[in-house]
């Protein structure tokens, strides 16, 4: 697998679109390419952020946050 092919596969990998056999091949190539491969994957994960930022924010209730913070404080005290 060339590095360009690896980059193509990495973009599919980060969104979970690779099939099991492709993932196996991808992981092998990932080891072979080393740090440049890890850098490439990290950059591809930026797409996750971009997809999320492309959506209109949805409102959550204040009660939800209160419940969350109560759970956090309870967890801290145990």
């Amino acid at each position: 697998m060339s590095f360009e092919e690896f980059q193509n596969q990495a973009r599919l990998y980060v969104i979970g679109a690779l099939e099991a056999d492709e993932t196996e091949t991808f992981e092998l190539a990932r080891k072979q390419f080393g740090q440049p491969a890890e850098d490439c994957i990290a950059q591809c994960y930026d797409m996750h952020e971009a997809f999320a930022l492309s959506l209109r924010p949805a409102k959550s209730s204040d009660a939800l946050k209160e419940r969350l913070m109560a759970m956090v404080r309870k967890r801290q005290n145990t």
């Binding site: 193509n8 973009r11 599919l12 969104i15 979970g16 679109a17 690779l18 099939e19 990290a42 950059q43 591809c44 994960y45 930026d46 797409m47 996750h48 952020e49 971009a50 997809f51 999320a52 930022l53 492309s54 959506l55 209109r56 924010p57 949805a58 409102k59 959550s60 209730s61 939800l64 946050k65 419940r67 969350l68 913070m69 759970m71 956090v72 404080r73 967890r75 801290q76």
Partner: protein, 219 residues
């Protein structure tokens, strides 16, 4: 088109006024802690940091969850679980592997897709028993949150990149990212040859990746 809910001027990227270049994430007030600073504080078990992170990103993460599971009540439950997981798993976050928002989005997406699959498995079991449970109508993001729309430069520009893709490529990416489908599942779902799906995904993702890189480079 099913990739991203649109309305008004955003349907046509050409009509969108040219804003200044975006930050990677929403702009912060002067003096406000960065996401990374908040993550470090959460790692030190500071609840106030989680509270601030929640205020900053609950809307984005809930929109993402809703895009996957289309149910307001379930989205709220998942959102709460996800922020608890952020609190519990913060020690596993490493800035070397990416940015806090990317980490949170990855976590939220995974949880939402898991939730969707459980629902689908439950529904299939229900069908087999011919005992379907009546479901609430889908609560689409844009219906539930129309009043809460905040137009940001970032969102407009990211969508501008996405909107340059042919519809078929957007659909394939939508099914992969927001439904968690593999290429074979997309092929079956859309009745499209597997090779075509692969090509659509590869081309579409490369265009988005290159488009986002251009935006970053222009900063």
């Amino acid at each position: 088109m099913d990739f991203l809910p649109t309305n008004g001027a955003e349907d046509n990227p050409i009509e969108v006024a040219a804003p200044r270049m975006p930050a990677a994430a929403p702009e912060l007030e002067p003096g406000a802690p960065t996401d990374l600073e908040l993550m470090h504080a959460i790692q030190e078990e500071d609840p106030e940091a989680l509270s601030l992170l929640y205020d900053r990103y609950n809307g984005i993460l809930k929109a993402l969850i809703l895009r996957v599971i289309h149910n307001e009540a379930e989205a709220d439950d998942l959102l709460q679980e996800i922020f608890m997981e952020i609190w519990n798993q913060a020690k596993n976050f490493s800035a070397q592997k990416g940015k806090p928002l990317g980490w949170m989005v990855t976590l939220a997406r995974r949880r939402a897709i898991d939730g969707l699959r459980k629902k689908q498995a439950y529904a299939r079991a229900g069908e087999r028993l011919q005992n379907e449970t009546e479901q609430q109508p889908d609560a689409w993001v844009h219906n539930a949150t129309e009043e809460e729309i905040t137009f940001s430069d970032t969102r407009i520009l990211v969508r501008r990149v996405i909107n340059t893709l042919p519809v078929a490529q957007q659909q394939a990416i939508n099914l992969a990212f927001f439904r968690g489908m593999s290429q074979r599942e997309i092929a079956a779902h859309t009745n499209t040859p597997l090779g075509t799906v692969k090509t659509r995904l590869e081309l579409g993702l490369k265009k988005i990746y290159d488009g986002l890189k251009e935006l970053r480079d222009e900063l």
